[in-house]
């Protein structure tokens, strides 16, 4: 990837608003909601298909609080991400090729996820303890990791088809 600073920020916001929002809407009902979220949560329903027994995840009724948490997380990922992009752009200056390998973007999910976990507590998107064994952690971890991976997969592939100029103009969309 040959990002410009503007291209990085635009790409981040675009991916959050498209892949991020869509995936969050799909996955929220399936996430293991923490106990304080009352009745949300994931269940497994056994299903007989010919001779094969499979488990299908089925949604419980997610509460507005669950959606508030997941969409809040995506929103904060985008907002805090702008700051991260400034840092990445600075680090890019020390690379001779002034490029940003896709692997860096993928792995950046680890520090970003950890920082985001604290940030969403700070702004009260997520309540309770910030300890990593918090009951809310599984929901956050599954949601964030799957969203990050999908955004990355979209970026290294279909993004080039959706916006032809993107890869020619340093990641800029407009």
């Amino acid at each position: 990837m040959t990002f410009t600073l503007a291209g990085r920020i635009q790409t981040r916001l675009f991916l959050a608003a498209t892949v991020g929002v869509l995936w969050t809407a799909i996955i929220t009902p399936f996430l293991p909601s923490p106990p304080m979220g009352a009745i949300g949560g994931v269940g497994m329903v056994p299903m007989q298909m010919s001779r094969l027994m499979i488990l299908i995840p089925t949604p419980y009724n997610p509460t507005p609080i669950d959606y508030q948490m997941t969409f809040g997380t995506i929103g904060m990922m985008a907002v805090v991400g702008v700051v991260w992009e400034l840092l990445y752009h600075l680090l890019q200056q020390f690379r001779w090729d002034k490029d940003w390998p896709p692997l860096f973007t993928l792995l950046a999910g680890i520090p970003e996820g950890l920082v985001l976990w604290y940030v969403i507590h700070l702004v009260h998107v997520e309540n309770g303890t910030v300890a990593l064994n918090s009951p809310g952690m599984p929901m956050f971890a599954i949601h964030f990791a799957t969203t990050w991976l999908l955004m990355w997969l979209f970026m290294v592939g279909p993004m080039k088809v959706a916006i032809l100029r993107w890869r020619f103009e340093g990641g800029r969309i407009i």
Partner: protein, 541 residues
């Protein structure tokens, strides 16, 4: 391919070229820079109308035609004129000369696909599926951090272009021939003179009935490297000695050198240059050493011996073992990234020359296999690296060549030559891989466009273009001449002009500008996805 800085810096002095002497043009036409419909009708020459003509028929033409077809231009409205029916033919012969046969990999990335302007799925992903090799997908995800860049096999590039040519009706648009002249049309647009290929072995002039004139609104020129010239010291050696065999440039056919080295085991060869083509040549020599027992001794002359990474923290080029390392011909960020922005922000030629020196550093991709072989050659004594600059070639005794090497310019290197010294070296052959010169006037049609068509030149003597790659000064009514590739080198917008990426970037820019004029559709998201889906299903655009 070769080094951009060398190309730019060594553009030859301009010589005045007289207007072309095309056989069978009427005196009226030959002497007028602007033609009108009546003059052409009076000439009785064959004539046809096409909206868009691209001249060259190589990679540059292919990229633009492919993009225009996707942007909704029908095949009837496009004409392609060139010497070879397959767009990759010229590229292929240059690659073969520089020791990249079909089975070898070219120095280009996975997503710069000549048959797919979207670049996805890239060459790498396609190869992973074809060879059912999921490891390759992991390689693509990990490059260039954990492994070297994936690069496509030359044969895969050609095969995929064959498929795309079929899909966009390339061969229906193609007319074999040479274009000596593009003249302005008084009513707007241009007249393109096409001389069919002289397939008869007679020396007679082309007959009137064969010459064709195409009336077009838009003309695109992408004539490629046909005008490449060897360096002055090679030229003068050949002129003085009359020996055309023992001193060659890597882009010339020079298979005879390898044959001779096998036939006379133990011969020596001097390879000059520290870029990829030198490494490919050395790779071939080592291959012949291993499988034909040629016992060849390789002297490798580098301008500088690069001991370690060099430069300020922000501009530190990786290096070691004598070489600077860079994955592609240009620094990656010049391919549309922040360095392209930087390039565009510069206002003076000095600043551009300085930046180009960095972006087009002489370097090789760090391929472990190459370095291993060179280390083996050094320890076994048949590979010797020399640092210095070439300072003359003379004919010696027994068919030998005496190469003088000036070590003054070189960085100090332990083994070879002290400072303030020159040395001579006797070898059987010299293969120069340091560069070539390009002269825009080597192409008759470009010379005529400058002399007669009002085309301007830029600071390095190539055609001056605007942001949409329109040739400045060559406008004719509502008509435009575009140029991409070598003849637009030195423009203040794009650096990697002769890369797959560069050709496609220029094509997209031109298509956007033509969409503004209503000639084609803009490739917006809807058209882009639709066009890609048609490509995936191999349907006509």
């Amino acid at each position: 391919m070769s080094d951009h800085a060398t190309l730019g810096a060594r553009v030859k002095e301009k010589q005045v070229v007289k207007a072309s002497r095309v056989p069978s043009l009427t005196a009226d036409l030959a002497s007028s820079c602007v033609w009108d419909d009546n003059m052409v009708a009076d000439s009785q020459l064959r004539q046809r109308d096409v909206s868009f003509v691209t001249i060259g028929g190589g990679i540059g033409s292919f990229a633009l035609v492919d993009t225009l077809r996707i942007a909704g231009v029908s095949a009837e409205n496009i004409s392609v004129i060139g010497p070879f029916a397959n767009a990759y033919e010229s590229l292929k012969s240059l690659l073969i000369n520089s020791q990249i046969p079909d089975s070898h990999r070219i120095r280009s990335g996975s997503s710069d696909r000549m048959d797919n302007i979207w670049g996805w799925p890239g060459y790498g992903m396609a190869e992973a599926f074809r060879r059912k090799n999921p490891l390759l997908l992991m390689h693509l995800a990990a490059e260039p951090v954990l492994c070297e860049y994936y690069t496509p096999r030359a044969s895969d590039v050609y095969a995929s272009m064959d498929r795309e040519a079929e899909r966009i009706s390339w061969h229906q648009m193609f007319t074999p021939g040479k274009v000596p002249l593009v003249r302005k049309r008084r009513e707007g647009g241009y007249f393109v003179v096409v001389v069919p290929p002289d397939n008869a072995d007679s020396t007679s002039d082309v007959s009137d009935s064969k010459l064709e004139i195409i009336r077009a609104r838009y003309v695109h020129l992408s004539l490629g490297a046909a005008g490449l010239r060897i360096l002055p010291d090679l030229e003068s050696y050949r002129a003085i000695t009359g020996d055309m065999n023992h001193v060659v440039n890597v882009y010339e056919p020079h298979e005879h050198v390898y044959r001779a080295l096998i036939e006379r085991p133990g011969s020596s060869v001097l390879v000059r240059g520290a870029a990829t083509s030198a490494m490919e040549v050395i790779g071939r020599l080592i291959h012949d050493r291993n499988s034909h027992d040629s016992k060849v001794v390789i002297y490798h002359l580098l301008h500088h011996y690069v001991k370690e990474p060099k430069g300020s923290p922000m501009w530190r080029i990786p290096g070691g073992n004598g070489f600077a390392y860079q994955a592609f011909t240009f620094t990656k960020g010049a391919y549309g990234g922040q360095l392209q922005d930087r390039w565009r922000s510069l206002r003076s030629d000095e600043d551009r020359t300085r930046l180009l020196g960095l972006l087009a550093s002489t370097a090789i991709p760090k391929r472990r296999q190459w370095l291993r072989e060179l280390a083996r050659g050094t320890s076994e004594g048949w590979y010797k690296m020399l640092a210095g600059s070439a300072a003359g070639l003379q004919k010696g005794d027994n068919e030998k060549i005496v190469a003088t090497i000036d070590h003054n310019t070189a960085d100090h290197h332990d083994d070879h030559g002290s400072e303030n010294a020159a040395s001579t070296l006797e070898v059987d052959y010299v293969i120069d891989c340091t560069g070539v010169t390009v002269d825009v006037r080597d192409h008759e049609v470009l010379a005529d466009l400058i002399d007669c068509g009002g085309a301007g030149l830029n600071a390095i003597g190539q055609l001056a273009v605007n942001r949409s790659f329109e040739v400045e000064g060559a406008y004719s009514g509502n008509g435009k001449v575009f140029t991409t590739g070598f003849s637009a080198l030195g423009n203040p917008y794009v650096v990697p002009m002769y890369s797959f990426w560069g050709y496609q970037y220029c094509a997209l820019t031109i298509a956007n500008s033509l969409a503004n004029e209503g000639f084609c559709n803009r490739i917006n998201t809807r058209r882009s996805i639709g066009g890609w889906w048609r490509l995936v299903r191999n349907r006509t655009p």
